[in-house]
Symmetry: C2
Subunit: 140 residues, 2 copies
DNA sequence: GTATTTGCAAATGATTTGCAGTGCT
DNA sequence: AGCACTGCAAATCATTTGCAAATAC
C-alpha cells in the first residue's frame, strides 16, 4: 500500500482522513469520476461531503498528485499521477485500462512538436473501442 | 467552402440555417467550445437560442458530423469530423492546433490494442504544452 | 495555537427538457 | 401536409462558494 500520508505532505497538503481515503479509493480502482469517488469514500467515511471531494480533487490536480483524464462523451475521470501511459477506453462500459507508453511513440511526438516550436509538457493518448468483456456481452 | 447542406442531408439531418451556421463557424475556427459557438453564431443569426446549439451539437456528434475534443482543465471543444490527426493544446491560451497523424504511431496503437483483444475504433491524442506565441508573451 | 480543512447550505453555472409555434422537404 | 426543428422558459444536474466549527501539525 502506497504511503499516501507522505505523498500528501510532500505536496504541502495536510494528511486528512478524507484525502487519504480519496487517494486510496482512486488507486484501488485506477480511474474514477467525481461521482464514483464520492460513492466509494462515503462507505468508509459516511460524513464526508461532496463539496470536500470537489475541493480536494481541484487541489490535488493543482499539486499534480492527481491527473484528470477527460473522456469523449463522459465525465472526466481522475487517476494518481504515474509514468506516461496510454488509456484504452471502452465506449460500452466506460472502463479505462492503462497500457505502458512506447518509447518510439514519444519520439514521434517530440519530433512533431519541435517542428512547431511547441513546448511539449504532457501527453494524453486515449484509444476508444470495445473491451474484450463487452465484446462478449454484445455477441450474446 | 464545404457544402454543409449535403453533409447534413447525407446524415439525415435537415439543412437548417442554424445548423449550417454552426458548422461554418466551427470549420472557420477549427475547434470551439459550446459557448464560443454560441457567441459567433449569434452574430449572424441573432435569434438563435443556446438550447438549439446544445441540441444540435448532441445530434451532430451522434451522427458523427462533429467530434468532441475533451481537454484537461477546460470545457470540451468540437471539430468537424476529419481524418485522424493529433491535437497540440496550448495550456496558456487554450488554442488547439491539428497535426497530421503519423502512420507509424497508428501501427503501434494497433499492436497495443490487438494484444488486449480490444476492438479499436477511435484514436485521440492530445499533446499539452505552450504554443510559440504564448512562449513569446511569457518571455516578455 | 494557528492556519487549514471540513461540512453544510446556498449560489452559481452548465446542460436538458417540454411544449407551442415554425420551417424544411 | 407532415414531421423535424426552433426558441423560450423552466427543470435538472454539476460545480463552486462562504462561513462557522473541527482538525492537523
Amino acid at each position: 500500500m502506497t504511503d499516501y500520508v507522505t505523498l500528501l505532505k510532500e505536496n504541502d497538503l495536510k494528511a486528512t482522513f478524507q484525502r487519504i481515503n480519496i487517494l486510496d479509493v482512486i488507486d484501488k480502482s485506477g480511474h474514477m469520476s467525481v461521482e464514483n469517488i464520492y460513492e466509494e469514500v462515503i462507505k468508509i467515511h459516511p460524513s464526508i461531503s461532496l463539496a470536500t471531494i470537489y475541493k480536494n480533487i481541484v487541489l490535488m490536480v493543482e499539486k499534480s498528485v492527481l491527473v484528470e483524464v477527460p473522456i469523449s462523451g463522459r465525465k472526466s475521470k481522475y487517476e494518481l499521477s504515474k509514468s506516461d501511459h496510454i488509456h484504452l477506453v471502452c465506449t460500452e462500459c466506460g472502463e479505462v485500462e492503462d497500457k505502458p507508453c512506447i518509447e518510439e511513440t514519444d519520439k514521434v511526438f517530440h519530433a512533431l512538436t519541435d517542428s512547431e516550436h511547441f513546448k511539449l509538457n504532457k501527453r494524453q493518448v486515449n484509444l476508444y473501442g470495445v473491451c474484450a468483456s463487452c465484446q462478449k456481452a454484445l455477441a450474446s
